[in-house]
Amino acid sequence: MKNLIALIILILTFAESNAQDVNKIVANLKTELDKVKDFQADLKVKIDISYLNAPEQVGKIYYKAPNKSKVDIKGFNLLPKQGSGNIVSEIINDPKNTLVYSGTEIVNGAKTSIIKVIPNDQTKDLALATLWVDESKNVVVKIENITKKSGTFNISINYLKFENKYYMPINVLVKLNVPEFSLPSTITGENAAKAAQKKKGSNTEGTVSFTYSNYVINKGVSNSIFEK
């Protein structure tokens, strides 16, 4: 009986400590995020999928706290469903998500804390998310999002400190699963031999690279930009 009580006390203590860890990490993350009220930056998006040949997309990204963001690319846009918006803010600010501390791991030479995110809102596509938080900078350097409909997204984020205050992403790499693509040459009207030659394989993993530059931070972004 004594052992059982000791075990319960141990679990409760651990759970309490876990909650404190997560709350502290998330609070620090929010503090860092809250420093940026708005920003705009130049954006380049490069997609690498075996069967897709798309030019680099060039445009601008705008953000205004708490939740307005817009990617403005002239012409056709092809952006991954995860990774192009302010995904960290969306995850940690959703009160319906349960956050669980899950240990530490070294990512790109930096010690990170792992936080599992369990969404309690069944209507959302997100099934489970994992965040790797670099506590020395209070930024999320890696995200794994498992979705119900769109597969798994692995997101790696590199930051640079601007104006000695703000850690902003300069490169975001999204790895995602894409289904195979195949149309028979009898439909496309293509020469069969040439079609077989052009088909580079059936690799179902794709990557999307976002490169941000020329940040303008906390200088004001008009609301009208988000209404267009």
Partner: protein, 278 residues
């Protein structure tokens, strides 16, 4: 010579069958535009459904460039018939109507006569393609506007708007060369016989058989395909690859020019030595 060409053009354009091609283009292109207006988005969704799970797609992909490429792809099967309809009649028609001997009694060389006929036919082919280009590209852009272009075949290619228009100019130039190969076949068959139905049917049969062999994959067909002129006719699609395989395009252009030169030379030689009995 110029007068002869004018006379031949007058002959071509005084026949009803000549206008079948123009009427077809004037009727079919607006129909394709209407179909795309209502169903174009579904077509794009079908082509990009592999990406729709992980990506958000936005922007105007249903535009004049996409419409023109679809039209060009559809008409590559049908324009040869319109070309053969006129070309198959150019020499055989003279035999059918019994005007060969009358024509050849004029103080003009056979070479001049056949050259004038050939050139006037080439003008007809060019006019057909110019009308096709104006209607498909011009009207397509008027209706759907411009934008980045999506090409769905064995891969999905997206081309920037600024990188699209020039490809159509080259494509129509390529189409002109392709149709001249068809024209040269029909013109040659027309020289051999005395009834215009034969050359038209022979040309179309050749294109249909070769086109089917062209899309059959595997086995012996793959080895045959490089030797079929239809394979090279279809290589206009390579102009919408990114990057363009210029070596392949140039090879196909050279092979088509070789076809035209060979077939035309054969026709000219045959016609200048032909016994005219009708």
């Amino acid at each position: 010579m110029l007068m002869l060409i004018k006379l031949e053009l007058f002959k071509i354009f005084s026949k009803w069958r000549t206008y079948i091609g123009f009427i077809s283009i004037f009727v079919l292109i607006p129909l394709i535009h209407i179909a795309l207006y209502f169903e174009g988005k579904k077509l794009i969704e079908l082509g990009t459904q592999a990406l729709s799970g992980g990506f958000n797609l936005s922007g105007n992909l249903l535009n004049g460039f996409m419409a023109t490429r679809i039209i060009l792809q559809s008409f590559y099967v049908h324009i040869p018939l319109l070309v053969a309809l006129v070309a198959g009649d150019m020499l055989a028609g003279e035999a059918t109507s019994g005007t060969y001997r009358f024509l050849l009694t004029k103080p003009i060389s056979r070479l001049q006569i056949i050259s004038a006929k050939y050139i006037s036919g080439v003008i007809y082919v060019a006019s057909l393609l110019v009308i096709l280009m104006i209607l498909s590209l011009g009207v397509g852009i008027l209706i759907f506007g411009t934008g980045d272009m999506i090409i769905v075949n064995s891969n999905i290619t997206i081309l920037k708007e600024a990188d699209s228009l020039w490809r159509f100019y080259y494509s129509f130039g390529y189409a002109f060369l392709s149709m001249l190969v068809v024209y040269s076949f029909a013109f040659m068959f027309s020289a051999f016989v005395e009834n215009s139905i034969g050359p038209i049917m022979a040309t179309m049969s050749l294109i249909i058989v070769f086109s089917i062999l062209n899309i059959l994959g595997g086995g012996v067909f793959v080895h045959i395909q490089p030797f079929l002129f239809t394979t090279h006719m279809q290589n206009w699609k390579g102009l919408f690859d990114n990057p363009i395989d210029y070596a392949e395009i140039n090879t196909s252009v050279a092979i088509m020019i070789a076809h035209i030169v060979l077939l035309t030379t054969l026709t000219f030689v045959y016609f200048t030595k032909k016994d005219i009995n009708s």
